[in-house]
């Protein structure tokens, strides 16, 4: 059956949010991201793009390219709030949708054409979002997710585009191969070295040639180039792991600071688990030295969500991992192998006082926020924390440069 898949993408989402909060930022070059020298650009306004700025770029470079830009640190809490607002509108209006990230949605409008006409319906939805949220949004409408996503990219900024059934191939043909989702820097280089620059060339190649050049991925890219890849809409994201990491403003060898940071990360993640009524079976710790060599180590534990089990394991892993007497650039903690359940109390190790204390701390956090109460050992670390429940079925808030 002919499908109608809509792709919606909020234009320069973080920038638009900041402009909503502070209207003085309208029509001015704006950069959102880490403000330190180590920061990266998470989002940049269209004004800055003329200077060669793009998201994922080092903030230092971006500032040099566009010195007149206003730089804002960004607040994921606010973006999440606006993202929710938009999600609610879409949820109300469409039968099946996928939230692919904070600012991107797919909706299956198949069958709606009988009553309204898909394009008209999508246009009305877009107008409603713009009116109710105040955020600019673009959409692409076609028979599958990939073509719709590319169409949105072509429609931007703040516009819409429909690719009629049967015209997918000719729509894609003149575009650069960079525009195909999943073609990253590396694949792009490989294909350019083969003399492939436009999608049209891939369309003319036999699929076997793509497979021999790129492996299994070649088939996917070939199908996408021909507009016939049709991945399903995923209405709910199941989190398989939760993690946090920090790049220090200055590389450090201060073990107390490192341990404090790791400790705070473990405490925060364990709280996320308990809040989502989850247990974890695997813990891993990552460190990156100043020479960019990255090491990580993981262990399996009996399913748990208790601080006194997870924190010591994390510190133990860190001590095992930190062997080279070198400056450290980044540390991170990840918890995976997550299942639904509550902490199984131990007869000998857990005292009633401790369990009541945990309960009380979690209740306080639930009411006054995650940072309202913490262990003294965590207090030295700069705010590590997230503001949304990671198990709500939504995709994680990802910075622009980490999307692929």
């Amino acid at each position: 059956m002919q499908k109608n898949i809509l792709h919606l993408d909020l234009d320069t989402f973080f920038v638009s949010c900041e402009r909503l909060i502070d209207s003085r930022l309208q029509h001015r070059p704006l950069l959102v991201g880490g403000i330190g020298d180590r920061g990266v650009v998470a989002a940049c306004s269209y004004e800055t793009r003329a200077f060669g700025v793009h998201s994922g770029m080092s903030m230092k470079v971006a500032r040099r390219l566009c010195p007149e830009a206003v730089v804002i640190k960004g607040n994921s809490g606010i973006y999440t709030k606006y993202s929710h607002l938009v999600t609610e509108i879409i949820k109300e209006k469409v039968p099946l949708f996928e939230k692919a990230s904070v600012d991107e949605f797919y909706a299956d409008l198949t069958g709606m054409d009988k009553f309204y006409g898909c394009y008209k319906y999508a246009s009305e939805l877009r107008q409603q979002i713009i009116k109710e949220s105040g955020l600019p949004i673009s959409f692409g409408l076609s028979a599958n997710k990939i073509v719709s996503k590319v169409a949105t990219g072509e429609a931007k900024p703040n516009n819409q585009l429909q690719i009629d059934s049967g015209f997918e191939k000719s729509f894609l043909a003149p575009l650069s191969i960079r525009k195909i989702p999943s073609v990253g820097e590396k694949t792009y280089q490989t294909l350019r070295n083969l003399g492939v620059d436009k999608v049209a060339v891939i369309q003319q190649m036999p699929v076997e040639m793509m497979i021999s050049a790129l492996g299994a991925n070649g088939r996917t890219i070939w199908k996408r180039a021909n507009g016939i890849d049709n991945p399903p809409i995923i209405p709910f994201y199941e989190r398989k792991s939760i993690s946090t990491e920090r790049t220090f403003t200055k590389d450090t060898i201060d073990v107390v600071q490192l341990r404090t940071t790791i400790f705070a990360m473990a405490e925060s993640l364990a709280y996320q688990l308990r809040r989502g009524e989850k247990l974890a079976g695997t813990i891993s710790v990552k460190i990156r030295y100043s020479d960019f060599n990255t090491y990580s180590k993981q262990i399996k534990i009996p399913y748990s969500s208790a601080d006194h089990i997870i924190i010591p394991k994390v510190l133990e892993l860190f001590d095992k991992l930190y062997q080279r007497r070198l400056l450290i650039r980044l540390v991170g903690v990840k918890i995976s192998d997550i299942v639904t359940g509550n902490y199984q109390i131990n007869l000998f190790d857990d005292t009633e006082e401790m369990l009541s204390l945990y309960n009380a701390m979690d209740t306080i956090r639930g009411r006054y926020g995650e940072l309202s109460v913490m262990r003294a050992s965590s207090m030295g670390a700069k705010t590590i924390g997230r503001f949304q429940n990671p198990f709500g079925g939504e995709p994680p808030v990802l910075l622009a440069h980490r999307k692929h």
Partner: protein, 372 residues
């Protein structure tokens, strides 16, 4: 060297002893049975270094000596024979020749001297109890013992002998069983931790036997002697946790319920619980017990209501359903009592009826933390 023995008689004994042999051994000699022939007595032994078990068989022979014969090969062969006399001839060229009514079979053997010697207990204390009591005590407790290599003491069953009674305890830190017999006692106080493997073997052999078992023990080993069999094993070294301290004394909330009804409800509901954590929730209010489970990942959920006899405040408590079913399965009472105090403290499960005179069973199960 030569002896004659009945095939089924030998097989029966060897099958029991075969339970000692591990499927993979670091010492190849341990893949063998040790045959020690002393005229009309044959002592067959099997060992895994920790546990050594031997049985004495009557045979027809007039020679002496010992050989180690490959266990798997011998068992596989014996299994196929109908009852008949078998003649074993131990040749000097390191082969044993077995002659049956059907033909001849030759197996390579090793010198019996290579087989590790069984430990002899120095200065042991001893107690005698009936085999079926020991078997019951083992089967009532062993399921609750843990598997954690990091806490070896909890991987065994704690034997606590006194002049008044015998107590057997097993726990994995999430559940605990204490089984006491007041109708038997020891001559002096003693405590030791038995590993699981020899207990499983003993349970199998002693079930429904009225033979008396003599238990000898010192600080490092224990020896069980009955009929024609001796089992010697190394004890688990270490201090058993102070389990008495964790059994809650004040439990104002008491639930009495039909065991089989409770068990089948828990089993049914737990099918709908999370496949990894098996957690279920009990809600008790008035004379109604509500059992529910939910697997959010697959949108499965179940709820059952049972009438019960309940005294105490309304409460909600979460349990791993595996623990509850194991415990309820292990009891044979018609009615059980579950005593509780708080949702984060242990529940105590005891049978209301079905116990012998002087027999006491206390089962503890730790709940899971429920978000209020």
């Amino acid at each position: 060297m030569k002896f004659i023995v009945s095939s089924t008689y030998l097989l029966k004994q060897l099958q029991v002893l075969g339970g000692v042999i591990n499927s993979s051994n670091t010492l190849p000699i341990l893949d063998n049975f040790l045959f020690d022939i002393d005229h009309s007595k044959l002592t067959v032994s099997a060992s895994d270094l920790e546990t050594t078990m031997s049985s004495v068989l009557d045979i027809e022979s007039d020679s002496e000596g010992s050989v180690a014969i490959p266990a798997r090969l011998l068992l596989d062969t014996l299994k196929t024979f109908p009852e008949q006399p078998l003649t074993f001839v131990i040749e000097d060229n390191n082969t044993v020749e077995i002659s049956s009514n059907h033909g001849k079979y030759a197996l390579a053997y090793a010198d019996g001297a290579e087989f590790p010697k069984a430990i002899t207990l120095e200065d042991p204390s001893s107690t005698t109890i009936s085999g079926d009591i020991l078997a019951t005590a083992i089967s009532k407790t062993i399921f609750a013992a843990g598997n954690d290599d990091l806490r070896p003491v909890m991987s065994g069953v704690f034997f606590q002998f006194s002049t008044d009674n015998l107590t057997f305890v097993a726990t994995d830190a999430h559940k605990l069983v204490k089984y006491t017999r007041e109708d038997v006692s020891a001559t002096q106080q003693a405590e030791f931790i038995m590993p699981k493997k020899p207990l499983t073997l003993l349970k199998g052999i002693l079930a429904a036997s009225d033979e008396n078992v003599t238990i000898e023990y010192n600080d490092s080993n224990a020896k069980f002697t009955f009929e024609n069999t001796v089992l010697v094993c190394r004890l688990i070294d270490g201090k058993y946790p102070n389990y008495e301290a964790v059994i809650p004394k004040e439990n104002p909330n008491k639930l009495s319920i039909d065991r089989s009804q409770f068990l089948s409800s828990v089993k049914r509901v737990s099918i709908f619980s999370n496949k990894t954590t098996h957690q279920i929730r009990l809600k008790i209010a008035g004379a109604e017990l509500n059992i529910s489970a939910e697997d959010i990942d697959y949108s499965n959920k179940a709820e059952e209501r049972l009438t019960c006899d309940y005294q105490g405040d309304d409460m909600q408590i979460g349990f791993n359903s595996r623990f509850l079913t194991e415990m309820l399965n292990n009891l044979n009472a018609d009615e059980v009592q579950l005593e509780m105090s708080m949702p984060n403290r242990a529940g105590i499960l005891t049978p209301v009826d079905g116990l012998d005179e002087g027999e006491h069973v206390t089962m503890l199960v730790m709940p899971v933390m429920l978000n209020s």
